[in-house]
Symmetry: D2
Subunit: 156 residues, 4 copies
């Protein structure tokens, strides 16, 4: 029941990334080469305190009739970007596992690159929670907003 | 990222309750007397393998103009009922904490008793997930559907 | 399926409130007096382009053992605050109806006033979507994050 | 705010499909050929009152190290299956648009065919809501549970 909540080890301004863009790219290449199965479409653009931004280079595979992007294209980027945001703050030792993803689809995406702007809401010892806005490159309003919860395995 | 998931200790047909209706009522009275602050409105009606049903006796406090129930009335019942469903299967030792609740409001509730029919989707060592349909007593279609995730503290 | 999305009439910087704090307070008093059934605990503090902030004055009724707030207290405030944020931008003619609310409970709230900081993600002709961070007064990190979807009735 | 809800035209036992498996397969082939871009992996297996079941034939593209399935594989199937369940009950005239999808990832999927068992929770004139359990073929417990909301365009 809604009673009490676990201790958060790093919160708010105190959230500091421990991996930079190069560290994150190298980690993804080594541990998750399958995200590149359609070419190097995902890249990490920036990390900051409690934040991360990724870009997805859109190709013919992701475009739908009417010149929009498929839903799974957006959902895959949101999951990878939130994972990267957590990884950047927890470090390369832990394997976070997605337990919940909730999407609100807001507008029709353009057939352009898609940006994912993540913000961590909580970074606890067992669970991390973040939100992400997905934006068509060059547009001001998000096409999709998502929140995700990730289970962080016990560290030895 | 979506990779692998923790071990579930009890699943499907193997989910067996370890507390019965009387155990659960006694536990709630002892540990959460505050749920009775508006009278004894909540009661546990049934528990089964992976399931639980609760009833909320509706009073003037919960009724809104137009003869419907307030949203917080429904949300409070969903949270308590999912908590009870987990408790029934985990036993009175652990204090599960709500980490996520997602509601779809489907129909206008009648100003009658509200039933909560819960089903556990996962009962892991660290997280439990369940769904609940809320129904106006005597009606066939749910007024609200919710899913909830609860963090289960480590057992010593 | 994930294909195309309805036209949004007001987006981003173009979202301009059409009711101010006094308008909103007067509207709530007239149309929803039941929110004051435990005293005048809810107040609108600010509205801006695409945003609104509400305060909930916490009383003994909302406090739980251990000096924290009940979950329904948080959920009720989130729903009211998102409703007010939409109302501020749509005007007093329409009756928005909650269709979905999703909560991530992040930290244990303090037994202090609770603030709700809302941001609209979409304000379409049929659906409005917003997010809200709930914060204990004086604290930097949210205790709860929620997203909500509201159905906006056809205007005559 | 949580006040009142729109009229549902078909509810509960009264939900009757108006398209059968062959109708649905033909509609998908004609309108959404892009779902077959990796081969004919999706098939409609059954429709019933308020329900639909789809199967996804899993190939090397969907399998991840450790012999599990990728998250986007599961999310894409859930969205298509809910869309098909709604289509089966609304008929081929309307283009439903996904507005919300919420996923709880429950267990590690096996590298087998994935089944999607859908149930409609509401079929209104403007919004349809459904839930879906995703199961590895041959297993008893769902690997993922999702709920989805779809906006139904006005019919002329």
């Amino acid at each position: 029941m809604l009673q009490a909540h676990g201790t958060s080890t790093r919160i708010g301004a105190a959230m500091q990334p421990v991996m930079d863009v190069e560290d994150l790219e190298a980690f993804l290449d080594r541990e998750f080469p399958q995200i590149h199965q359609d070419g190097r479409i995902y890249s990490v653009e920036a990390v900051g305190p409690g934040t991360a931004r990724m870009r997805m280079r859109v190709g013919p595979r992701h475009i739908r009739p009417g010149g929009t992007l498929s839903g799974p294209t957006m959902m895959a980027l949101a999951d990878i970007a939130l994972y990267v945001a957590i990884l950047a703050h927890v470090g390369p030792v832990a394997l976070a596992v997605t337990t919940n993803l909730s999407f609100n689809f807001l507008r029709k995406p353009e057939p352009h690159d898609l940006l994912a702007e993540c913000r961590l809401l909580k970074l606890g010892t067992r669970l991390a929670v973040g939100e992400v806005n997905l934006l068509s490159d060059g547009a001001a309003d998000p096409v999709c907003h998502a929140t995700g919860t990730y289970s962080i395995p016990p560290r030895k």
